[in-house]
C-alpha cells in the first residue's frame, strides 16, 4: 500500500526522499519539564518504605506502543511524512511467556496540507489517511518535522489508550494491566483498580527540598510514600509513588527509578507495598540491550520487540548503504 501512494505522490511531482529522523525510530520518551503539585497521602510527609521481599506471582498483561516515521518526499520544501503507530497488549501465561491478547496499528501520512500544491495534496488525500498539520507558518523543514513528531506521538497515544480500554474490558478478575507510561491520560485507566502506569522519565517535578531528595535518592528495594499527583499533564486524578529497582549509587540519580501510577483510592494505599514487591520482581530478566534496561520492565521490552518485528520493514534506514546517514 505504501508504495502505491508514494508513487502517486511522485507522479504528482513530489521529490522523493528517504530521510529517517533519529526520533522516528522510537517514542519520544521525555515528559515536558514542568512542575506539578503533589499531596502526600500515605504519611505525614514523603517517606521511604522498604519493599517486602516476598511477592506472589500475579496475572499481568502488559501494554506498550511504538511509532515510526520517515520523510518520503518534499513538495518544494514541505516534507511529507509517512508514519506508523502500533500498540499491543500481551498477556503473561502460567508458563511465564507472553502471548498477544490485543493489538492494533495504523499507517498514515502527516503533512501540512495547506502548504502542499493542489495536485500533490489531491494525490496524497486520494491514497492515504492523512493527519494535517494546520496553522504552520511557511518555514524550513525543521518545525514541520517537530510538528509531525508530535502528531505521530499523539496518534500512538490515542491507539494505546483505545487498546488499553479494550484490554480493561477483557481483564480477568485478578489480572492486572501494566501500561508503559502515564495512566492519567485515560479516565477509564485511571479509575481501574488493577491498572498501573509505569513511568520511566522524570520531566515532571512533584517535590522540592527534602521531599525531592528523599524521592530521588530512594535506596534500592524501597518505595516512596504514595502521593496524589496534581497538575503536570495528568488529566485524571491518580495516586503515584516512586520505586527504586536497582542501586543508583555509582550510576546515576535516576538509575533504576520508576514512578508508578495507580487509581486514586484508599485501596491503592493499602496495596502499594505489595504491588511494589511484585514490580520489583520484574527487574529480572533485564531488558538489555535496551539502554533503558534499568527502568524498562522486560515484559514491556518484549511487547515493544513484538511490535517492531511486525512493523513494516521499510521504515528502517536502508541497511544496504554503508554511507553515513544525512538529513534535515
Amino acid at each position: 500500500m505504501a508504495r502505491a501512494w508514494i508513487e502517486a505522490l511522485l507522479a504528482a511531482g513530489v521529490t522523493p526522499a528517504t530521510f529517517v529522523p533519529d526520533a522516528s525510530l522510537g517514542r519520544f520518551d521525555q515528559e515536558p519539564v514542568e512542575r506539578a503539585a503533589a499531596d502526600v497521602m500515605e504519611d505525614a510527609e514523603l517517606a521511604t518504605h522498604a519493599v517486602p521481599e516476598a511477592a506472589p506471582a500475579v496475572a499481568v498483561a502488559f501494554l506498550d506502543g511504538i511509532q515510526q516515521w520517515r520523510v518520503v518526499g518534499y513538495d518544494g520544501v514541505v516534507p511529507i511524512v509517512r508514519a506508523y503507530v502500533a500498540a499491543a497488549v500481551r498477556r503473561r501465561g502460567a508458563d511465564r511467556r507472553l502471548r498477544t491478547a490485543f493489538e492494533d496499528s495504523r499507517e498514515f501520512a502527516v503533512a501540512p496540507l495547506a502548504a502542499l500544491g493542489r495536485e500533490q495534496r489531491a494525490a496524497l488525500e486520494a491514497h492515504m489517511d492523512v493527519v494535517d498539520l494546520p496553522d504552520l507558518p511557511p518555514s524550513q523543514p525543521g518545525p514541520v518535522l517537530e510538528a509531525a513528531r508530535r502528531a505521530v506521538d499523539g496518534a500512538r497515544q490515542t491507539l494505546e489508550r483505545a487498546l488499553a480500554e479494550r484490554a480493561l474490558r477483557a481483564l480477568g478478575e485478578r489480572e492486572w494491566l501494566i501500561v508503559d507510561g502515564l495512566l492519567s491520560v485515560s479516565g477509564k485507566l485511571a479509575a481501574h483498580p488493577r491498572a498501573l502506569g509505569v513511568i520511566k522519565s522524570f520531566g515532571t517535578q512533584f517535590f522540592e527540598g527534602d521531599a525531592l531528595r528523599r524521592a530521588l535518592t530512594l535506596p534500592h528495594g524501597h518505595r516512596s510514600s504514595v502521593f496524589r499527583a496534581r497538575g503536570g499533564h495528568a488529566r485524571n486524578d491518580v495516586y503515584s509513588w516512586y520505586l527504586r529497582l536497582w542501586p543508583w549509587e555509582g550510576n546515576d540519580l535516576l538509575f533504576g527509578l520508576l514512578r508508578i501510577e495507580a487509581r486514586a483510592a484508599a485501596e491503592t494505599l493499602a496495596a502499594a507495598g505489595a504491588v511494589s514487591a511484585w514490580l520489583l520482581r520484574e527487574r529480572a530478566p533485564v531488558s538489555t540491550p535496551d539502554a533503558r534496561w534499568d527502568r524498562l520492565l522486560y515484559p514491556i521490552h518484549e511487547v515493544e520487540t513484538y511490535l517492531r518485528s511486525r512493523a513494516p520493514r521499510d521504515f528502517l534506514p536502508a541497511s544496504g548503504s554503508r554511507l553515513p546517514r544525512t538529513g534535515t
Binding site: 529480572a284 530478566p285 522486560y298 518484549e302
Partner: protein, 646 residues
C-alpha cells in the same frame, strides 16, 4: 501404504545476510515446543508448484540475552532467583536443514522463505527420491527401517539395484560393538532382502562369516520380539520370521571329529556340516598362507611347480621316485624323498632348478598350515565343502570360523570368496547374487598394513563385484581404519552409535556437529543410512531381528561338551542314519588308528550311503582314497594394491 494426511506448518524459513538460504541449505524457526529434531525431514512449500525437501542437520536455541553477564545481573548472582523471574526470556528454536530435493529440479534456486511442514509418508518418498524405484512395473525397494519424527513414521527403502548391483553395490556398517548396530542390522536387512528382493532380478543368497562368538549361530531360531517390533515389521511389510533356509559350516577341532563351533547343542548340531579341506584346496591359495616375506620369486615358482606338475598327477622323478600327490601326507612323502635323495647323492643342493632351502621353506610353511589349521585342513582324506554350484535362492550359508586360527580364517575367507566369484563369473553357482557378510573388516582390509591376499581380494570385490553379483556387506567398529577403497566403493552405508574419536576423523567432516552428536548417542535400534538416492544421511529405526541373538542362543542351546573320540564319530554317523547305535560304533573304532577312523568318517559323510554303518565298516577296513583328482582351475590373479582412485 502412503499416509496423505497433511500436517500443519511447524515453522518458517528465515534468511539473513549472515545466514542466507541457498539452493542446498536453509534455516527455519519453530515454536519452542516442537516435535522435530536432528534428522527430521521437512518440506518447504511456496505454493503448489514449488516444494523443497530438507533434512534437519543442526539446531540452535538462543534468547534475546546479549551477554551471559546480563542474566547474572538480573538474578543478582543467584541461580535460584534466575529461575524465579516472572517472565521467561524470548527464545528461539532455529534449525538448519540440508536440501534433499527441489521440485521442480530446474531452475535450481535458493530455498524460498516460506512455510515449513513436517514431511508425511509421501513426502519422505519424494524427498529421498524413493518414488523412482518404489513405483512402476518392477519396483526394487528393500525396506531398511522406519523414518520417525514428529509423530510421523515412514518406511525407508533402499534400491536393490544400488544395494546389490548392478548400478552400485555393497554395504558398509560402522558402529561400536554391543549396540545392535552391525550384526542385528545385517540380520534384519538380510531378512528384508530375502523377502523383498525382486523376483525379476533372480536368485540371491548370503554367505556370512561368523568371526566372533555365537553371533550368527542361531539364524534359524526365532528370537523374542516385542509388540513395538512387530508393529514396525508390519509397517515395513516384512514378516517377522527367522531365516527358513540356513546351512552352517564349521571346521573340526584338532581332534578331527568334534566341530569347532558354538552350535553344538544336540538339537542343533545336526545342521552343521564340517568344513574340511585338503591339499588341493589349500595349494590354490598358498599365497594366503605364506606371509609376504615368504613369497619371494623362488618360493612362488616352486609352489607353482607343485600345483602344475605334481598335484593330482602321476609324478615320476629320477631322483625322488614315483609319486601321486593328492594330500598333505603325499606331499610330505615327496618332500622326504627329495631330501633323502639329495642327501644320498650328495651331488647338489638343487632339485629341478629349485634350491633345497626353498623346498624346505615351502615344506615348513605348508606343514605349518596343517598344524595351525588342524581341523580345517586335513593331512589326508577327502574334503567337505560348501555346496558349490547348488546354492539355493534366499538361503544363508554361515561359515563359522570364530574359533579358527587367524591364518585359517584368512584361508577360509579367501577360498570361499574366490569360489563365489568363480561361480558367479561362470553363472554356475546356483544363484545370481551373493551377499558376503564380513565383520571386523578393519582386520581383513585395514587402511594401512601389509598387502595381504585377503585385502587384495576385498578390494577386488569392492571394485568389480557389483558386475558379478558378488556383494560385500562389511562391518567394522572404526570405518577410518578400513581401506578407503573398500569403504569408498560401498554404495550404501549404515552407521550405528559411533565413537567420538572416530567421528573426529576426516572421514566424517561432511557431517554437522549436531549429526555427529546424534551419532555418538544413537539409541539401540536406530541407524543413520546413506544411499546413492539420498542426498543426505537419513536416520531410521529398525525392529529387532526376528532371530535368536547369539547370547540368548548359547543360553537356550548351551553348547555340548566335546565328546570322546568314539562318541563323536558315533554322533556324526547318527546324523546320517538315526538307527546307528553308539555302542556299535565304539566297538568298531576301538583300537583303530584315529586317522584311519577320520578318513573313513569323512568318506562316509561324503558318500552318504544308504547303509551308513556298513559303508563305514567297509571303508574303515581299507585306506580311503582322497577325492578324485579334479581339473585344476587356476584362480584368476588379483591386481596389486595401488593408490589409484576408485
Amino acid at each position: 501404504m502412503i499416509d496423505k494426511t497433511r500436517p500443519a506448518p511447524i515453522g518458517r524459513v528465515v534468511a539473513t545476510e549472515l545466514k542466507p538460504a541457498t539452493p542446498h541449505q536453509f534455516h527455519f524457526w519453530t515454536a519452542v515446543e516442537t516435535s522435530i529434531g536432528i534428522g527430521a525431514i521437512v518440506k518447504v512449500e511456496e505454493g503448489p508448484e514449488r516444494v523443497v525437501y530438507g533434512v534437519v542437520t543442526d539446531g540452535f536455541a538462543y534468547s534475546d540475552l546479549q551477554t551471559p553477564l546480563h542474566d547474572v545481573v538480573g538474578a543478582e548472582g543467584d541461580p535460584v532467583r534466575a529461575a524465579e523471574s516472572p517472565t521467561v526470556r524470548q527464545e528461539i528454536r532455529l534449525w538448519t536443514a540440508a536440501v534433499l530435493r527441489q521440485v521442480p529440479e530446474e531452475p535450481l534456486q535458493p530455498v524460498p522463505l516460506a512455510r515449513v511442514f513436517v514431511a508425511t509418508d509421501a513426502d519422505v518418498a519424494q524427498a529421498l527420491r524413493m518414488d523412482a524405484y518404489l513405483t512402476g512395473a518392477q519396483p526394487t525397494g528393500i525396506p531398511v527401517g522406519l523414518y520417525t519424527s514428529g509423530g510421523l513414521e515412514a518406511p525407508v527403502y533402499l534400491d536393490a539395484d544400488f544395494l546389490l548391483g548392478p548400478e552400485a553395490a555393497h554395504l558398509n556398517l560402522s558402529g561400536v560393538s554391543g549396540l545392535a548396530t552391525k550384526t542385528s542390522a545385517v540380520e534384519f536387512l538380510l531378512g528384508s532382502i530375502f523377502q523383498h528382493f525382486p523376483r525379476h532380478k533372480g536368485k540371491v543368497a548370503a554367505v556370512c562369516f561368523n568371526v566372533k562368538g555365537p553371533d550368527l549361530c542361531f539364524l534359524d531360531q526365532p528370537g523374542e520380539l516385542g509388540d513395538e517390533d512387530r508393529r514396525r515389521y508390519e509397517r515395513l511389510g516384512i514378516a517377522p520370521r527367522p531365516f527358513e533356509r540356513v546351512r552352517y559350516f564349521a571346521p573340526f577341532k584338532g581332534d578331527g571329529v568334534n566341530l569347532n563351533t558354538l552350535r553344538t547343542h544336540p538339537e542343533l548340531v545336526g545342521d552343521v556340516q564340517p568344513l574340511v579341506w585338503g591339499l588341493a584346496e589349500v595349494l590354490d591359495f598358498a599365497e594366503v598362507l605364506l606371509n609376504r616375506d615368504d613369497i619371494d620369486a623362488k618360493a612362488d615358482a616352486f609352489i607353482d611347480f607343485l600345483a602344475d606338475r605334481v598335484l593330482n598327477r602321476d609324478f615320476d622323478d629320477p631322483l625322488a621316485g614315483r609319486h601321486r600327490v593328492q594330500t598333505f601326507a603325499d606331499l610330505d612323502r615327496l618332500f622326504r624323498s627329495i631330501f633323502d635323495a639329495l642327501e644320498t647323492s650328495g651331488r647338489s643342493d638343487m632339485w629341478r632348478t629349485h634350491h633345497i632351502a626353498t623346498i624346505r621353506k615351502v615344506r615348513n610353511r605348508l606343514s605349518n598350515v596343517s598344524t595351525r589349521c588342524k581341523g580345517l585342513v586335513t593331512d589326508d582324506g577327502p574334503s567337505s565343502d560348501l555346496p558349490w554350484g547348488a546354492f539355493e535362492d534366499r538361503s544363508v550359508y554361515v561359515v563359522d570360523i570364530a574359533n579358527v586360527d587367524p591364518l585359517g580364517q584368512d584361508l577360509v575367507f579367501a577360498r570361499v570368496v574366490s569360489r563365489l566369484r568363480e561361480g558367479l563369473e561362470r553363472r554356475e553357482l546356483g544363484v545370481d547374487a551373493v551377499v558376503v557378510f564380513v565383520d571386523e573388516l578393519n582386520k581383513y582390509a585395514p587402511a594401512d598394513g601389509p598387502e595381504t591376499y585377503v585385502k587384495k581380494m576385498l578390494l577386488d570385490i569392492s571394485e568389480r563385484g557389483r558386475y558379478l553379483g558378488l556383494v560385500l556387506f562389511g562391518a567394522e567398529q572404526f570405518r577410518s581404519q578400513v581401506h578407503r577403497r573398500v569403504v569408498g566403493n560401498a554404495g550404501s552405508q549404515i552407521y550405528g552409535r559411533m565413537d567420538m574419536d572416530e567421528l573426529a576423523t576426516p572421514a566424517y567432516q561432511v557431517l554437522s556437529p549436531a549429526t555427529k552428536i546424534k551419532l555418538a548417542t544413537l539409541p539401540v535400534g536406530e541407524l543413520m543410512v546413506r544411499h546413492p538416492h539420498f542426498t543426505q544421511p537419513i536416520f531410521v529405526r529398525f525392529p529387532r531381528p526376528p532371530v535368536l541373538r547369539g547370547r540368548d542362543g548359547v543360553e537356550r542351546f548351551a553348547p555340548a561338551a566335546d565328546l570322546p573320540f568314539a562318541d563323536a564319530v558315533a554322533r556324526q554317523l547318527m546324523r546320517l542314519d538315526r538307527t546307528v547305535r553308539p555302542n556299535t560304533v565304539r566297538d568298531l573304532v576301538e583300537g583303530r588308528d584315529e586317522q584311519d577312523v577320520r578318513r573313513a568318517l569323512a568318506e562316509t559323510r561324503r558318500r552318504r550311503p544308504d547303509d551308513v554303518l556298513a559303508y563305514f565298516r567297509k571303508v574303515l577296513g581299507s585306506r580311503v582314497a582322497p577325492d578324485a583328482a579334479r581339473e585344476r582351475a587356476a584362480v584368476p590373479p588379483l591386481g596389486a594394491i595401488t593408490d589409484e582412485p576408485y
